[in-house]
Structures are given as structure tokens and as C-alpha cells.
Symmetry: D2
Subunit: 284 residues, 4 copies
């Protein structure tokens, strides 16, 4: 069987669910999962479908054509189609912190992630030995004020060469260029080491310590032009006390960061995240 994931987004109106499910049936498809959400305030409709079709007779192109004909205009619908059997290509950007990298790669080697990781890009040479031990090409591209433009071009070229579908910033300590954000809108996942919107920007653990909070957090979000203000995919928290130093905050935070980031990656690769109005619908 061929498994297809369809994501739909349009203004809410009567009859969408029935029309779409009916369409799938007429294409001889079987709906395996259906998730749906309506934002009542903004009257927006969201749906995620997993459908199965007989491999012999199913053609993605034909399905897309028929789907577009039936719905694109009628419901003014945005939709995306994914072949569930094709693993997306994920590029990792890292700097010097190794915890997220190790965590992602150990999941990868245990076949826990439905992705292909064709390359790792870093602005530091420090973590190359880890990439090597997992047999993944590691590109050290130095980023300084002067080389920033050249570095970005090099990054983009690599991403194109490797046909990268989405990017994960696994504690990559650099601002991402507008060009890259534009090319990969809602396809760059960052992990920020605070419970956003509290403590955006640099040194959030220091700020959290200074403020005397009793809970710290981590936030995974899609990168937008506004630093740490993109659509939030996943968050989690852990307790801290007055006995914890900033160093303790950082250590506890590392565990949060790697777990939260990996959850976001899984949600993204399973096509369970839909973005609108700088927020996410996350089907779980």
C-alpha cells in the first residue's frame, strides 16, 4: 500500500470534511487517520489525513491534479501532499555544544528518526569527531563579520547540493540570514534555551537565575526574521531551586533542550505541524 499524508488549510465553511473524505473514497483511498481543527476566532480550518492507496494503480500526480481540480478553487484551499515513505533530508547546524548533536545522532543510528541526515554544518571545527564516528560529512564554515556573506552562500550551496528539505539548529549560536529563512520558511527548527517568551536572546539561563524563577524551560520553534519569536512547536520545563547555580541551570537545561528539540523534529517529520498566524497546530 502507498501511504499519503495530506495537509489542508483554508477558511472554515460547511461541508469541508465530508467533501474531502468523500473525494478520498472516490479515489479508492482508505483514510487511516484524520485530524482536524477549527480556529473559531479566526474561522480557519485545518486538517491532516493519512490515506492508503493500492500501489499498483495510484499516481501522486493524478491525485494532485484531481485534488486541485476539486478543491483548490472551490474552498480556496492551501494543501500539501507527502509520500509517507520518503524520508525528508535534514541538515544539522551546530557550534560547540555537543549534547543536542549526540542526542539526535544516537536516535538517528537507532532508527528512531524518519529522516536522512546528509550533512552537518558548523561554524567551529570542534564537533567534527562526532560527525565522523557517525559517518556523516561535516562542513566547517567559519563565520565572522567579514566572511558572513561568503559563509552563507557556501551554506546555501551545500543545502542545495544535498537537496536538504529542512534544517535543525542544534544549538547553532549564529543569527540565520534572511535569505536562508526565506528559502526555508517554516523549515528551520531552532531550540531556544528558555521558556519563551520569557528570556529571549542571549544568556537566558543567566537571566532566569537573576530573576529567581522556580522553573526553567526550553522552546523549539520555527525560525523567522524576528529573533526567538517564531511559531512555537514544543516546550517543556524543569524545576530549579535556590540551591542551583547558573551552572546547574545550564546542565538541567541541556536535558530539556535535547528532549524538546527531538520531539519537535519528530513532529515536523511526521507532518504533524501546521503553521498560521505565527502559531502552530500540532496534531498529536
Amino acid at each position: 500500500m502507498k501511504r499519503i499524508i495530506v495537509l489542508i488549510n483554508c477558511n472554515d465553511r460547511q461541508g469541508i470534511i465530508a467533501s474531502v473524505t468523500n473525494f478520498i473514497q472516490k479515489q479508492n483511498g482508505n483514510i487511516v487517520y484524520i485530524d482536524q481543527h477549527v480556529d473559531r476566532e479566526n474561522l480557519m480550518f485545518f486538517m491532516r489525513l493519512e490515506c492508503e492507496f493500492a500501489k499498483a494503480t495510484f499516481s501522486v500526480e493524478k491525485f494532485e491534479e484531481n485534488f486541485a481540480e476539486s478543491f483548490s478553487e472551490k474552498f480556496n484551499m492551501n494543501w500539501q501532499l507527502f509520500d509517507a515513505d520518503i524520508k525528508p533530508k535534514m541538515a544539522l547546524f551546530v557550534s560547540k555544544y555537543e549534547h543536542c548533536l549526540y542526542d539526535i545522532l544516537s536516535r538517528y543510528s537507532a532508527n528512531e528518526l524518519d529522516v536522512v541526515i546528509p550533512l552537518i554544518i558548523s561554524n567551529h571545527p570542534d564537533l567534527e569527531h562526532i560527525a565522523n564516528s557517525f559517518n556523516i560529512p561535516y562542513y566547517y564554515i567559519k563565520v565572522t563579520k567579514d566572511t558572513k556573506k561568503v559563509a552563507e552562500d557556501l551554506q546555501l550551496k551545500l543545502l542545495q547540493e544535498y537537496k536538504v528539505d529542512f534544517i535543525v539548529l542544534a544549538r547553532y549560536m549564529q543569527i540565520i540570514s534572511s535569505k536562508l529563512i526565506e528559502d526555508y520558511t517554516n523549515h528551520i527548527i531552532n531550540i531556544h534555551h528558555s521558556f519563551l517568551p520569557a528570556f529571549p536572546g542571549a544568556k537566558p539561563y543567566h537571566s532566569a537565575f537573576e530573576r529567581g524563577v522556580k522553573i526553567i524551560g526550553a522552546t523549539s520553534h520555527y525560525v523567522t526574521e524576528d529573533l526567538d519569536e517564531g511559531p512555537i512547536i514544543e516546550q517543556d520545563i524543569t524545576r530549579v531551586t535556590h540551591t542551583n547555580t547558573i551552572k546547574d541551570f545550564i546542565l538541567k537545561g541541556k536535558d530539556l533542550e535535547k528532549i524538546v528539540l527531538s520531539r519537535a523534529i519528530k513532529l515536523h517529520t511526521k507532518r504533524k505541524v501546521m503553521v498560521y498566524k505565527n502559531k502552530t497546530v500540532v496534531f498529536i
Copy 2:
């Protein structure tokens, strides 16, 4: 508009979703929410629909008739229909602990619960003053070894008189009779003061303390013949340390109990819980 909730449960097979959504549309209904689940292991299908119909033309009886005709046989389907505007009648059973009772009644008086509470039944007179302050009839029915049968008959009579839909045991410290369980299958909600299946039966906080656990819990479940083994609706936990005494466990546990029980009540009244194989599907 008339809002109807439909719960469906049958063996999984191709085309159910499309058939049902199509049916709703043909009845001039609009599907507002759809939740669906397939248990792949047992090949069981579950669906919850919220639909809206024009009040003027809609008849529950006619809908039920048409639905039965279309599906009952074809898919060997179990289904239930609820009018979303009719609040179910909930009886409270209490003993001497007041925390769950106060919590439920304060939510009730703040219109947080979509129920009617026609009566409170207790095997002790202690909490009558609370019932009084909320203007709810309180029936003190003493339960001893000798009076058990008489007491149960009296309880059943009251439940019938008040047309009670479901029962909440808000720390009612008595075993429920088979007759009552049978009459209210999957309609008696209990709160057990442990993280089931750990520590079933009496004095779970004492057992948890003895075992030296670092986390305690509370579990809300439907009552079955097997003590503390019914289908779990909701659970939650809180941390404890070596500094906590049994008394601390009990105090911390009270907060868990009331929160978990109220969540279970809300899920039940919104028809979001479906039971099968001694487990629950909880649509959230």
C-alpha cells in the same frame, strides 16, 4: 443551531469515515469536530463527531432512525447520540473527606461543570453543612454490615427518583454493590489516591511511603467489579521527598485527587471518553 454529539465504535474497515461524514452532510448537518482513533492491534475503530443542525427541521428521533438504518447493520456499529444542550445529572457520593466535594461544588457554582447535581449521598452526616451552603439535598444513608442491603436499595431508589445519569465517588470510602455497578456500567467515576496499578486498595499513601517512592499519584477510573481495576480515565502525579511524612503525602495527594477527579468529570460530561477492553479512548 442544534448541536449533537455522536460516538461510534465498531470493527475497523475501509470507508467508515467517508460513509459517516457523507451521511451527516446528507442530513444537512455540519461537522464541527471530528476525532477518530483506530486500535491497530485489535482492529477497532472509534469516532466522536460534533455536528450542528438547523433547529427548525432537525429531529433526534428521525436522525437516530436514519443512522441506525444506514450503519447499525452495515458496519455492525455501536453508537450513541447525545444532545449537547442537555446537561447530564450527576450524583455525588461522599464520606468524610471534604476536599473533593468542596472542589466540585465550587466549580459547579462557578458554572464550570456542564452538569446538574440533584443530590449528594453520604454514609456519614459530617459534610451536610457543605451541601446546605450550596443548596443541594444531602441524604445521609448509614452503611453497616447489617444495613448494607437496605442502604443500597435506598441509594438506587434515590438515583432513580432523581433520574441520575452518572455517579461520582468523591472519596466515598465504601465498596459499591454489584447491582449499582451493573445499572451504571461505565457511569460511576471513582478517584483512587494512588498511581494505579501501584498501590490499589486501602491506605495507598502509607504503602507509597513504606516503599520509598519519589512520586505519588492519583487515578480516576470507571468502577468495575474488580476493585481499582476499572478503565482509567485520567492520572496525575506529584513529587515527594524523604522529608515528607505520610501526613505530607496525604496533603499533597488531596490536591492531586481533586484536580484529577474534576478533569475526569469534565471529560465524561463532554462525551470524550469511550471504553473498550477495560481501557479508555479519551479524545482531547
Copy 3:
């Protein structure tokens, strides 16, 4: 036995613990609990002691005198002494929300809180019936732009008359005056319905919804001149999803607010909170 709680705060230096414990022993006291903390960054020392003395021979005045003589100067020590058997007097300030009030009063009636509640003050008459059912005097003091000064004077007068030790703002929707804050420095406990420092000020649930966070929180803190920026005593969180409306946020938040506020009250009344540099040391 007489039980005494001593809180100590001074610059860190060698020998404090040994000196103080030695002193207690020489006063024929037995140390039942000792908690200590050093802030290495600021070189501040904190200690909480619970000690027992023979009732017949112990005099608080004598102890204080001896303590002052031995330590106040030598270590430049701030210290406070509490008789563990005297329950502090707690005033409740409320507006229209009832969930925190019910929660606190039901704990109070179950003897869960080691306080006396001599009065409830409100800027609305709505919750008087609840105060009545618990037999606690309820003072409705209207607060408008014009009456603000008069209202505050009346509040202060009542607090003095009832010899109130500390104040709990149980969702009191008014800014507290500087005079009151000054008189009750670190003795006014507020519950803010967000995970501070995220979403200070008005309508935090609306802001949280707008931002698309996946977790909401509540924060209990001491009130200072800077709105929602006082020392944090306790925080907790709960998960939300895209399916939750603002109304859901508010309902989920209510459960957080009441639990977090009651934890803060307990910590305060057990003298487990020490304030410095706008942060708290919370001994648990």
C-alpha cells in the same frame, strides 16, 4: 516542649554554623531541623533552624537577648525568631473570582493551613455569601479612582484592628498602594496568572494564546512596587494545545492558580521563605 524557628541571614564567613549550633546547645535547646544555604556568587549565608526547649525554663526574651549579644554584631547578622505555636493572622483580599477563595477556605476549614483568617476584604460584594458560609467577616470596600485613598485608609485600619500579620491577594484585581506595600514588605502574597516573567500585567491568558505557547503557568510572589516583578515564591505549569481556546486557558489556569497560591501560603506560614536581592530562598 517549646518550638522556636530562627531565620538567619548574613554575609558568608567561616564558622557560622558551628557558632550558632553551639549557642543553641548552650541554651539547652535541641536542633530539630537545620537548613542552610550559601549564595556563592554574592557570598550570602542563610539558615533556618527549628529548635526545641523545655517550656518551664525557656524565655523568648532572654533567648533573643542572648542571641543578639552573641551574633548581631559579631557576624553583622539579620535574624528573626518565631514561636512555632502561634498561628499568624492572614487577611484575604478578593474581587470577583471565587476559585482561590473557595480553595483557601476549604483548606482552612479542614485545618490544613496553620493560620487564623480574621477577615476578608473585597472591592466587590459578590463573594460575601462564601465568607458567610465559613463565618468570616467580609468587608466590602469599594475602590474607584475617587475613593482610592479613602479605601486604602479603611483597609489599613482594618488590618491594624485585626492585627493582621500578612496579606494574600486571592485574585484581587487592584494595584496595591505603596503605603500598604511598605507596611507589609515581603508580607503580601500575590498569585499572577502567568509563568512570570512571561506575560506580566493584564490579560496574560490572552497574550499566551496570542503567542501560541504550548505551556501556561501561574506564579506566586511577594508584592513590590514593580508590578509582577516581586520575589517569586512558587510557580507551576500545565500543558495547552491548539485545541484550547482562551476560555480553556482560563479554566486550566484557575486550577494552577489555586494550587500554586496555597503552596506559597504554606511555605510562608512555615517560615520557609527568605527574601534577598528580589529572589527567594525556599527551604523544602
Copy 4:
């Protein structure tokens, strides 16, 4: 400065804290941290001290001698002394699961753990490549019914050769021999993949799925003769829903297991865990 950790355990009686702190001061030591606990039910006293001494004049042997003289008899005291600068030697036992191993080793390489890992022992050859990439000797010791005794002897010999202080079973899927448990009483840390005491023994995720729980957990404990019944060091949990399959339970559980196990290792190596009556006092 020389930093020393002292753990004390004895029957509770008046004056212990003052006596010990006084003793430290007379030895010209400075108490940096003090943690203390009294089990009121069993009248047991526990204390953990961190003290600093001038390196030039301090002798561990002399200190131990003086300490024993002053307290061992007087208070019938059990006590242990640790040089905070000496890292304990930790042996890892693994089978085929790699998540805990990767997690521990990545922390180790980031200098997050205050241990030395001289060797890894496994009953399978599968994870040798991971050990190699971290340059740690890997001993593959096959364990079958017939070779069990020989294998254990070999294990013990290696542990002695490498002067191992404590053992971590990082999902080692074998029962540990009585001899090993005896030699390393309260020095073998296991991670069990359930929220003990629920679901001890084999296949806990399957049992949890079957029971329909809404929360799963992981438990780290010291190994005793009674399977999964040793003193609990740390536990944590995560939510599951009806949509999760057993495979999902296992994946979610892996994240719990590695986090909980690493927390237990850190607590143990910082000498923050004291065992009595099959429970733990964990100073945090």
C-alpha cells in the same frame, strides 16, 4: 583547600548537630554545606556535610581517627568519609539498547559526570563500536545458562582489576548474581523502565499498554536480591494517550530512562544518597 564529604547515620538524639559541627570547627574545618534529616517515625538521624580544610595541615587519616574517637561509640554512629576531589570509578553494564549508553558517554565526554569510566561490560557484542568511539575498553562476556557462573567470575575479576567503585546497569538485560550484589551493596544502580512498584519484571511497557495507563514512568534504584524492589533513587514520568502504540511507549520511555538514570548517577557520585530500610534519603 581540601574538600571532604561526611555522611552520618545514627539513632536520633539530642545534640548531634551541635557536637559534629563543633568537632569540625575544632579540626579547623569550615562547613560549606550541611544537610540533615530526621525520620521521626523510626527516630533515625541522617547528615551530610561538606567541609573545607587547609591542604597543608589536613590528614584524612588523622581526621578519621579523631572522628571515630569522638563519635563512633558515643552516638553509635555509622559514618563515611569521601575526598571530594577523587572521582569514583564507574563500570557500565549494557546489552543491546544504546540510548542510555550514548547518553552517559556523551555526558562523560562533556565532563558532566564526576566519574572515571574504566570499562564497559556487555553480554552482547553489538555496542562495541560505541565504546570504541569514546576510547573505553569493552568486554564482551557472553552469558548463557551454562556459562553464567564463569561469566560472573570474569566480571568480578575485571571489576577488581579496574578497582571499580560502583556499577551502572544501563539497560543490562540480565539478573545480577548474589555475589556481585553482596560485593557492591548499594553500589549497583539499575534503571527500570516502569514507574515502580507498578509493572516490575519483564516487559513493563507491554503491561502498561495493556492496563491502559495514562502515564508511564522510569525508576532508578539500587539493586538488591529482590528484583526491582531495591531502594528507589529517582523516578520520573511522561504522559501517554490512547493514540500511542507499544512502540510509542518504548520510544517515550527511552527518553525517560536516560534522563532518570543520569540523575541517579549524579546523585550517587555527589554522595547525596543515603540508604536505610530499603529507602533512600536524597539530599538535593
